[in-house]
């Protein structure tokens, strides 16, 4: 279930991306945080207790919104614009 609710920008162009292997869409102008949290209820699991986190400050300060891209890069979701074709995961990096 999504956390965020769209009140505006509902008619903007869709942007396709993948989340945890599933095809999703966001909207033009979404940050990665918005795109993910309008789909689901977490961005990551905390490092030590593995409890779900979904960001906090939305301004790049709390560092609680890092998500993983398929190529292993980390993205700070609240400050990264959503781009078409992003392949994202809401988990820690896979053990190598």
């Amino acid at each position: 279930m999504a956390i965020l609710r769209r009140l505006a920008r509902r008619d903007l162009p869709e942007i396709p991306f993948r989340l945890n292997g599933v095809a999703c869409t966001g909207r033009s102008g979404d940050t990665v945080l918005t795109a993910i949290l309008t789909q689901t209820d977490r961005l990551r699991l905390s490092d030590f207790s593995q409890t779900p986190r979904a960001g906090f400050c939305q301004m790049g300060a709390c560092q609680d919104c890092w998500v993983l891209a398929a190529d292993g890069r980390r993205l700070r979701a609240c400050s990264t614009p959503l781009e078409p074709g992003m392949d994202l995961f809401t988990a820690m990096e896979p053990t190598s």
């Binding site: 279930m1 956390i3 965020l4 609710r5 769209r6 009140l7 505006a8 920008r9 509902r10 008619d11 903007l12 033009s28 102008g29 979404d30 940050t31 945080l33 918005t34 949290l37 309008t38 209820d41 977490r42 961005l43 905390s46 490092d47 030590f48 207790s49 409890t51 779900p52 986190r53 979904a54 960001g55 906090f56 400050c57 939305q58 301004m59 790049g60 300060a61 709390c62 560092q63 609680d64 890092w66 890069r73 980390r74 609240c78 400050s79 614009p81």
Partner: protein, 458 residues
């Protein structure tokens, strides 16, 4: 004989933009660096793409100021070196390390204006790390920049004018609000009447926001002591105490914040002296009324220097730039400078009144149970801090960090530093001032290991 001026301004919010403008108008070409892709800072944060909403929808009563600021930055484009999406992650003497994308390079400067802004100041409460809990600033950004409510039914909690502003903005945008919970007592609001002559617009708007929320049927409560946020993997409700009675409201999101805290890591790395501000109960970089830091060539402006709001930030940005010009031997309009300083002084007087109307909840930290998470990043509990004070005799924040890991995580103590100081002070019998402040360490935000190092640009 003037040395070549190459000022670096960090932050393209109200303070940074006005500083850049003042320097450009004097024929100087500053470098303006900002982490965001578009200028405006947080309060005047821009959408990433245009949408159906008007500036009034986004910025309310401040729409004219916001659009003027954005337009100023656009107009400055060919007179300054504007570097958006750039993170200043380290600074020393006359060099800043700046990362853009996967690359970093040193940028040399002759003068520095730090206009780094602020974030919400929070204290932990049970459940605060759950999905659906955001800061007030975060809730505002979600709405303003992203057009999203933080939930179906949000509670806004905390204190300060931002509490009412954000709740009202949500109401106007059509969101459902479960409650507005003010930790300050209703009686404290009477202080605002003394603020009327100083900032009538702000005071009257504040009363109007509260009145319209109530008229819309939103419950607005005062003297609230938050007890816990309920839920498991996400928020389901909030419990608080009011006049001794426990109350509950169902909700799926919480926006909360108690005040703002200045972003001071670069001021620290640049070697600025810090002072403890009794009014804001926080350490901040020391500066005179012009924004001079005490270190030649370094100036501070806006909320990153001292919390005073966007109007003050614009004035302070311009004033700091003028101070830089004065110090560099340029002629400056003395009467204009006096006007800026008088307006700033009036705003600071108002801020003192605001602090009385929305006092910091000094007993919040002591009420926290040991098992509440204090440091979100490292998942260190309140109890671990108390134990360090008791068992290891810790009385100082950096020592606390070394021994308990509080503040060692990715956010470097931004979210927990304030709370850690309150709890350590309480547990060690000292004051929040006596426990000191967390020393900043580069990089001030995380950098990828494979970041590419470039040489200095011309």
């Amino acid at each position: 004989m003037r040395k070549p001026l190459r000022p670096l301004i960090v932050g393209a919010g109200p303070a940074g933009i006005r500083a850049a403008e003042a320097l450009a108008d004097a024929g100087i070409r500053p470098i303006l660096v900002d982490e965001a892709s578009l200028g405006g800072g947080q309060i005047y944060r821009q959408r990433l793409v245009p949408d159906e909403r008007t500036p009034q929808d986004l910025y309310g009563s401040e729409a004219r100021k916001a659009t003027a600021l954005h337009a100023t930055l656009s107009r400055l484009a060919d007179r300054i070196d504007y570097l958006p999406q750039a993170l200043v992650w380290n600074i020393r003497r006359d060099v800043a390390d700046v990362a853009v994308g996967g690359r970093t390079r040193p940028i040399r400067f002759s003068h520095l204006i730090l206009a780094t802004g602020a974030t919400d100041r929070v204290l932990p409460l049970p459940g605060w790390t759950m999905p659906g809990v955001f800061t007030l600033g975060g809730a505002q950004i979600s709405l303003k920049s992203q057009g999203c409510s933080i939930g179906e039914r949000a509670v806004f909690l905390g204190s300060g004018p931002l509490l009412y502003l954000v709740a009202w903005q949500y109401m106007k945008a059509g969101a459902r609000i479960a409650a507005v919970l003010d930790t300050a007592p209703l009686a404290a609001k009477f202080h605002l009447l003394r603020g009327l002559p100083l900032q009538p617009g702000i005071v009257l708007r504040g009363f109007r926001y509260a009145a319209e929320l109530m008229a819309r049927g939103v419950q607005v409560r005062f003297g609230v002591e938050p007890v816990r946020i309920e839920g498991g993997s996400r928020v389901t409700g909030l419990v608080w105490r009011e006049r001794g009675r426990e109350r509950h409201v169902a909700c799926d999101a919480v926006g909360y914040g108690l005040a703002l805290r200045s972003e001071t890591q670069l001021a620290d790395l640049a070697g600025c002296r810090f002072v403890f501000d009794e009014r804001d109960r926080a350490w901040r970089p020391d500066h005179d009324k012009a924004g001079r830091s005490g270190t030649p060539g370094i100036y501070l402006a806006g909320d990153g220097a001292r919390i005073a709001g966007a109007d003050a930030a614009e004035l302070a940005g311009e004033r700091a730039a003028l101070a830089l010009l004065e110090d560099a031997g340029f002629p400056v309009d003395g009467a204009h400078v006096d006007r800026l300083e008088r307006r700033l002084a009036a705003i600071h007087r108002f801020r003192t009144i605001l602090e009385r109307a929305f006092p910091f909840p000094r007993d919040w930290a002591d009420r926290l149970a040991d098992n509440v998470v204090l440091c979100r990043c490292e998942e260190v509990s309140v109890g671990q801090v108390r134990a360090a004070a008791q068992d290891l005799g810790v009385t100082e924040l950096n020592r606390l960090k070394a021994l308990t890991r509080v503040g060692m995580g990715r956010c470097q103590g931004r979210m927990c530093g304030s709370a850690a100081a309150e709890i350590l002070a309480s547990a060690s019998g000292g004051s929040p001032e006596a426990v000191g402040r967390l020393r900043a360490q580069a990089p001030i935000k995380p950098l990828p290991l494979d970041i590419v190092s470039e040489g200095e640009a011309a």
